[in-house]
C-alpha cells in the first residue's frame, strides 16, 4: 500500500489552510466539483473498482478534506459556528459520507484504502467540531456503520492507528458530553453493545504506541462508566474485560524468566526502571499491571470489584502463589522480586486489599505467605536481600493491617514488657536520654583518628568538615528523621488504633474511663467533659464545642492491663521482629549490603509514631522480658565485638579511614548516578534523598556512566586494592564493588554502625519533638 502513502501526505493541505486569500466561494465550488467527479466514478463503477478508480476517488476525497478543513477553520476564525460552513452543509445535505461508505463496502480489495480516507475525515471533523455533528444523521449514521464494519477485521498498522485515534477522540468527546453515549450504545433484549469499547479491546495488550493510545481511550471509557451506570453494567457484565485483564496478567507473568540469571551486582535487591526495560516481557507485564491499576482508580465500583476479584482469584492465588513456593532458591529469588515489583505498582486501595488478602489470609499448607516470607530473611544472601526488599516496600505502605500482622499483634498484649512496665507506656521520653545512650553505642575505634572523644555525654558530630558529603553530618539525620516521622504520622491518621500500650478495646474500658476522667487533663475550657449526647438538646448551637465530639485517645492516662496470668512464657516480639534482630546480631558475618538493608528496615520501623513500636525500638528505659531481643543490647554487643577486633589491628586507623572513604565514595557515586539518570529522561522518579544511601544501582554493571562522572574526585584509596591488569569493565565494577578482606569488612561494619547509631538517635530526638508538638496542640 505504499502508493497510498504517497497520496496520503498532506502536502497541499497546510499551504491552503494557512492562506488567507482563498475565496470561500471558490473553495465551495471546488469542493462541489470534487464531489461531482467522485460521484461520476461511483456511478461508473459500482462494484470492484480498479486501482485507478480508487486512486481517483482517494485523490478527490483528499482535496475535499483539505477544502472542508479550510472552510471550517475560516468559520472558526470569524467566530462563527462550524455549522455555517457551506462545505460542511453540503456534505451533510448530499449525504456524502453515507455514499462513500456504501461504495467502499463494494470496493473489494480496495475497501481499506477508502476506509482510511473515511477514518481520517471523521477524525478531522470531530476534532474541529467536537460534539456538534453527532446530532446530524448524515454524519452519525455512516460513522457508526463504518465502526461496526471494523469489528473483527484485521488491519494494517496505518488503519489501526487511524481507527484508534478516532476512538480516542470519541471517548474524550463522550467524557465531556455524556448525553451522547446513547448514540454508541445499543441495548436489545439479550444483547448490549458499546461499539467504541469493543473495538478497543483487541489492542489492550499491545506494546506499541497504538496500544498506548488504545489504553488511554479505554481508560476514558472506564471513567465514563462512573458517570453512566449502563456503561458500567455493560463493561462489568457483558464484556469479558476483567477476565481478559486478569488472564492477560497471568499469561504475561508466565513468560517472565523463572530465574534471573544475570544478576551480577552484589547489592541487587529489586527491579529498577532499567531492569524493567531490559528483561524480556517485564515491561509488558508492568504496563498491563499499571493499566489495571489505572482502571481501578477511575472505573465504576462495579468494575473495580470485578477487577479485584479476578486479580485475586485469577492471578494471585493460582499463579503468583505457586511461583513464590517453588523449591529452588533462584526461583524463589525471582518470584519474590516480582512480588515486590507488583506491590510497588499496585497502589489503588481496592487492588492493594487483594494483595494483602493474598499475603495474609491464604493458606498454603498451613502457612500464610507472610510467615513464609518472614522466614526467608534467614536465607542466603540474595534471597535474604530480596526478602528484605519486599518487607521494606510493605512497611513503606503505612498500612495498619500489615503492621498489625507483622508487629502490633505481638506487641499489643505488652507481654514483651516486664510486668511493672505494662502499667505505663509513656509515649514521651521527656529528656530523651535514649538518644544520648544510642550515641554512646558508637564503636570507639571510629573515634581514634579524629580529635574527637566521647567525654561523658559530649559527642562531637561534625567529623568531616572538609568532606563535601552529608556523611557524618548529624543535622542531616535530624532533618531526615523529622520528615520521615512527619510523613509516617500523617499517613497513619487513617488508622483505627493507637497502639499506645493501652488496651483500646478492653471490656473493662467503661470502668476505667470513669476513673480516668479525674486523671484527664482539664483546663478551664474542658469543663464540658460530660456526655455530650445527653446535653446537646439543652444547649444552644454556639455553646457546644466541636472538640467534645472528637474521638480523642488520651495517651497520657495509664491503663491497667490485668492479664497477670500470662507471664513471660508467651513473651515475644513476634517472628518478624525476632528474625530481624537475630539477623542484626550476625552483623559481622553478614554481607555489607545485607547490613545496609537490615539497618534501613529497622530505621524505617523506628519512624512509626505508635508508642508500642517506638518504645520497643528506641526507648532504652523500657525493660524487656529476658528472652525478648533488645536493640540496645544487640548494638552494645556489636560495639564490643568490633572494638575488640579493631584493637588488635595494627593499622586500625587506616582501616577506618578506608571504610569511611568507601562509604563516601559509594554515596557520591549513587548521587551522580541519580543525576546522570535525571539528565537522561525515560527514567522514573528517583527515590527521596537520604543522607545515608542504601539503594544500589541496577542489576548489571553495564551502562554505568564513565568513572569520571561517578566520582567527583579520584578514588585514590581504592585503587590500591584493585589488580593492575583488568578490563575497563572489570575495573569499573571493582571500583564500585570492591572486594573486602576481613579487616576492611569489620571496619566497614564499624563505620556503618557509627552512622546507624546517629540515625537512630536522630529518630529518637525527633520523636520527642513530634510528640511535644502533638501534646501542645
Amino acid at each position: 500500500m505504499e502508493w497510498l502513502n504517497s497520496i496520503l501526505q498532506p502536502k497541499n493541505q497546510r499551504a491552503l489552510v494557512n492562506s488567507e486569500e482563498c475565496d470561500p466561494q471558490a473553495c465551495y465550488d471546488s469542493f462541489k466539483e470534487h464531489w461531482h467527479q467522485t460521484l461520476k466514478i461511483f456511478n461508473r463503477v459500482q462494484n470492484l473498482p480498479s486501482h485507478d478508480d480508487v486512486l481517483g476517488v482517494v485523490n478527490h476525497l483528499e482535496q475535499m478534506m483539505t477544502l472542508l478543513l479550510y472552510d471550517i477553520k475560516r468559520q472558526d476564525r470569524h467566530s462563527m459556528s462550524v455549522a455555517s460552513s457551506k462545505c460542511l452543509e453540503y456534505l451533510l445535505t448530499e449525504n456524502i459520507l453515507d455514499r462513500i461508505f456504501d461504495w467502499s463496502m463494494r470496493a473489494g480489495r480496495y475497501n481499506n484504502a477508502v476506509r482510511c480516507e473515511q477514518l481520517k475525515m471523521y477524525e478531522m471533523l470531530i476534532r474541529q467540531s467536537r460534539h456538534m455533528l453527532l446530532i446530524h444523521e448524515p454524519f452519525l449514521r455512516p460513522m457508526i456503520k463504518l465502526l461496526c464494519s471494523c469489528e473483527g477485521e484485521v488491519f494494517s498498522t496505518e488503519i489501526e492507528k487511524l481507527l484508534v485515534d478516532l476512538l480516542n477522540q470519541l471517548s474524550a468527546l463522550l467524557m465531556q458530553n455524556i448525553e451522547f453515549i446513547e448514540l454508541f450504545f445499543r441495548e436489545e433484549k439479550n444483547f448490549v453493545r458499546f461499539i467504541i469499547f469493543s473495538l478497543l479491546i483487541p489492542f489492550v495488550h499491545r506494546e506499541d504506541s497504538i496500544g498506548m493510545r488504545a489504553r488511554d481511550a479505554l481508560l476514558l471509557c472506564m471513567s465514563l462508566s462512573k458517570k453512566n451506570k449502563k456503561v458500567a453494567i455493560y463493561i462489568a457484565e457483558h464484556s469479558n474485560f476483567s477476565v481478559l485483564v486478569a488472564s492477560g496478567l497471568s499469561a504475561l507473568y508466565s513468560v517472565l524468566p523463572n530465574v534471573l540469571h544475570d544478576i551480577i551486582v552484589p547489592d541487587w535487591h529489586r527491579f529498577t526502571p532499567d531492569d524493567v526495560n531490559e528483561i524480556k516481557g517485564l515491561l509488558t507485564f508492568v504496563t498491563s499491571l499499571e493499566f489495571s491499576n489505572a482502571i481501578a482508580q477511575v472505573a465504576h465500583p462495579m468494575i473495580r470489584r470485578e477487577l479485584q476479584e479476578f486479580l485475586y482469584r485469577g492471578f494471585l492465588i493460582p499463579v503468583l502463589g505457586p511461583a513464590l513456593l517453588q523449591t529452588t532458591v533462584q526461583e524463589q529469588v525471582a518470584a519474590t522480586a516480582y512480588l515486590e515489583l507488583i506491590l510497588r505498582t499496585v497502589t489503588q486501595p481496592g487492588l492493594l486489599h487483594s494483595m494483602l488478602q493474598f499475603l495474609l489470609k491464604v493458606d498454603y499448607d498451613g502457612e500464610r505467605l507472610l510467615n513464609i516470607l518472614i522466614q526467608r530473611i534467614n536465607s542466603e544472601r540474595q534471597l535474604c536481600l530480596v526478602s528484605l526488599a519486599v518487607f521494606e516496600s510493605m512497611v513503606d505502605l503505612d498500612c495498619e493491617d500489615l503492621m498489625l500482622e507483622l508487629v502490633f499483634k505481638y506487641l499489643q498484649p505488652c507481654l514483651h514488657l516486664m510486668l511493672s512496665h505494662r502499667k505505663i507506656l509513656l509515649p514521651l521520653d521527656p529528656h530523651c536520654q535514649s538518644f544520648e545512650r544510642l550515641l554512646t553505642l558508637s564503636p570507639k575505634c571510629c573515634q581514634l583518628d579524629d580529635d574527637t572523644i566521647i567525654e561523658g555525654n559530649n559527642v562531637q558530630w561534625n567529623h568531616f568538615k572538609h568532606k563535601q558529603s552529608l556523611y557524618g553530618k548529624y543535622y542531616a539525620y535530624l532533618c531526615d528523621a523529622r520528615s520521615k516521622i512527619g510523613r509516617c504520622q500523617m499517613a497513619c491518621m487513617t488508622w483505627n488504633n493507637s497502639y499506645s500500650g493501652e488496651d483500646d478495646h478492653s471490656h473493662n474500658s467503661e470502668e476505667n474511663s470513669s476513673s480516668l476522667i479525674s486523671l484527664e487533663r482539664s483546663s478551664g475550657y474542658e469543663s464540658f467533659n460530660l456526655n455530650s449526647e445527653d446535653l446537646k438538646d439543652d444547649f444552644e448551637f454556639w455553646q457546644i464545642s466541636s472538640n467534645n465530639n472528637k474521638h480523642k485517645k488520651s495517651n497520657i492516662s495509664p491503663t491497667i492491663i490485668d492479664d497477670v496470668e500470662q507471664l513471660s512464657s508467651s513473651a515475644s516480639a513476634g517472628p518478624f521482629l525476632v528474625i530481624l534482630m537475630e539477623k542484626l546480631r550476625n552483623f559481622l558475618s553478614n554481607s555489607f549490603y545485607i547490613n545496609l538493608h537490615i539497618t534501613g528496615l529497622i530505621s524505617r520501623l523506628a519512624a512509626y509514631p505508635q508508642p508500642l513500636l517506638r518504645a520497643y525500638l528506641l526507648d532504652h528505659s523500657l525493660v524487656l522480658q529476658p528472652n525478648v531481643p533488645s536493640l540496645f543490647e544487640i548494638i552494645g554487643v556489636l560495639q564490643q565485638k568490633i572494638d575488640d577486633y579493631m584493637s588488635r589491628q595494627s593499622d586500625c586507623i587506616n582501616l577506618i579511614k578506608y571504610a569511611r572513604d568507601c562509604l563516601v565514595d559509594r554515596e557520591i557515586m549513587l548521587v551522580n548516578l541519580r543525576r546522570y539518570r535525571a539528565e537522561n529522561p525515560n527514567m522514573r522518579k528517583p527515590d527521596s534523598n537520604e543522607p545515608f544511601q542504601r539503594n544500589g544501582p541496577k542489576r548489571r554493571s553495564l551502562n554505568i556512566p564513565p568513572i569520571s562522572s561517578l566520582f567527583s574526585r579520584r578514588p585514590s584509596q581504592i585503587e590500591s586494592s584493585v589488580p593492575m591488569v583488568s578490563s575497563p569493565e572489570e575495573l569499573q565494577f571493582n571500583l564500585i564493588y570492591p572486594k573486602f578482606n576481613e579487616g576492611q569488612h569489620v571496619a566497614l561494619c564499624a563505620v556503618l554502625l557509627e552512622e546507624w547509631v546517629k540515625e537512630l538517635a536522630a529518630l529518637a530526638q525527633e520523636h520527642t519533638v513530634a510528640q511535644l508538638a502533638t501534646l501542645l496542640k
Binding site: L397, C399, W542, S546
Partner: protein, 207 residues
C-alpha cells in the same frame, strides 16, 4: 481554643494596641446574606472575663433582626444573659455571630431590630432584597482605607494575578501533596482484626 473550634468563615485577631479590642470579619457563604463580608469589632471589658458579655459592633450598616440599627451592635443579651467565665467563652460569641447569619429564622427570638424581624416574617422577598443590599454595601467598602492605624486591622486588597497566582498555585499543590501519602487501614474499628472491612468504602458504590 478558637482555632480548634474551626468556625468556618470567621476570622479574628486581637488589635495591636490593646488585647481588649479584637478585629473580626465574617464571610457568609449561604443564606440570605450570601457573599457578605462583614467586619466587626469585639470590645472586651477591662475586667474581662469577670464582667458582662463582650460587645460586638459591626462596622458597616447592617439589616438583621439581632443587630441594633442604631450603632450596629449585636444583641448578645439574650444569648448570653450572664457571663460566667468558666462556662462562657469567646469562641461561643464567634459561633453566635456565625449562627445569626445562617439561621435568621431562629435568631428572630433575639430581636432588637423589629423592622427587620417583621419584614422577615411577612415579606421574605423584601427581606432578601434588603439583605443583598447590605451585602453589596459591604463589598463596596471592602477596600476602603482603614479607620484606624492599628497594625492588626484586617486589610483587603484586590486580587492581582501577577502577585497572587503563584501563591494560589502553591496552596493548591500543597493540598495535593498532603493527600498523596495516605496510609491504609481495613482494620475493623474497635478490634485488632486485619482486613475486616471491605476493600473500598461503601459510599463509593453509589455513583
Amino acid at each position: 481554643m478558637i482555632q480548634t473550634e474551626n468556625i468556618h468563615g470567621v476570622y479574628v485577631i486581637p488589635s495591636n494596641e490593646s488585647s481588649l479590642i479584637w478585629f473580626g470579619v465574617i464571610f457568609v457563604r449561604n443564606g440570605p446574606y450570601e457573599d457578605g463580608i462583614f467586619r466587626f469589632t469585639i470590645v472586651l471589658d477591662e475586667n474581662f472575663p469577670d464582667c458582662e458579655h463582650p460587645k460586638v459592633v459591626f462596622q458597616s450598616e447592617m439589616f438583621h433582626p439581632v443587630i441594633d440599627p442604631v450603632g450596629n451592635e449585636l444583641n448578645l443579651l439574650n444569648a448570653f444573659p450572664k457571663w460566667n467565665k468558666s462556662e462562657q467563652h469567646l469562641w461561643q460569641v464567634l459561633k453566635f455571630i456565625q449562627w445569626i447569619f445562617y439561621n435568621v429564622d431562629a435568631s428572630v427570638a433575639h430581636v432588637v431590630n423589629t423592622e427587620a424581624a417583621e419584614m422577615y416574617k411577612s415579606n421574605k422577598n423584601a427581606f432578601k432584597a434588603k439583605a443583598q443590599e447590605i451585602v453589596n454595601l459591604s463589598k463596596d467598602h471592602l477596600y476602603d482605607e482603614p479607620p484606624t492605624e492599628d497594625k492588626h486591622y484586617i486589610i483587603f486588597e484586590p486580587y492581582v494575578p501577577e502577585v497572587h497566582d503563584k501563591i494560589r498555585m502553591s496552596m493548591i499543590t500543597f493540598q495535593e501533596e498532603q493527600t498523596s501519602k495516605i496510609g491504609h487501614s481495613w482494620v475493623l474499628p474497635g478490634t485488632y482484626k486485619s482486613l475486616a472491612r471491605p476493600p473500598t468504602p461503601q459510599s463509593e458504590s453509589e455513583s
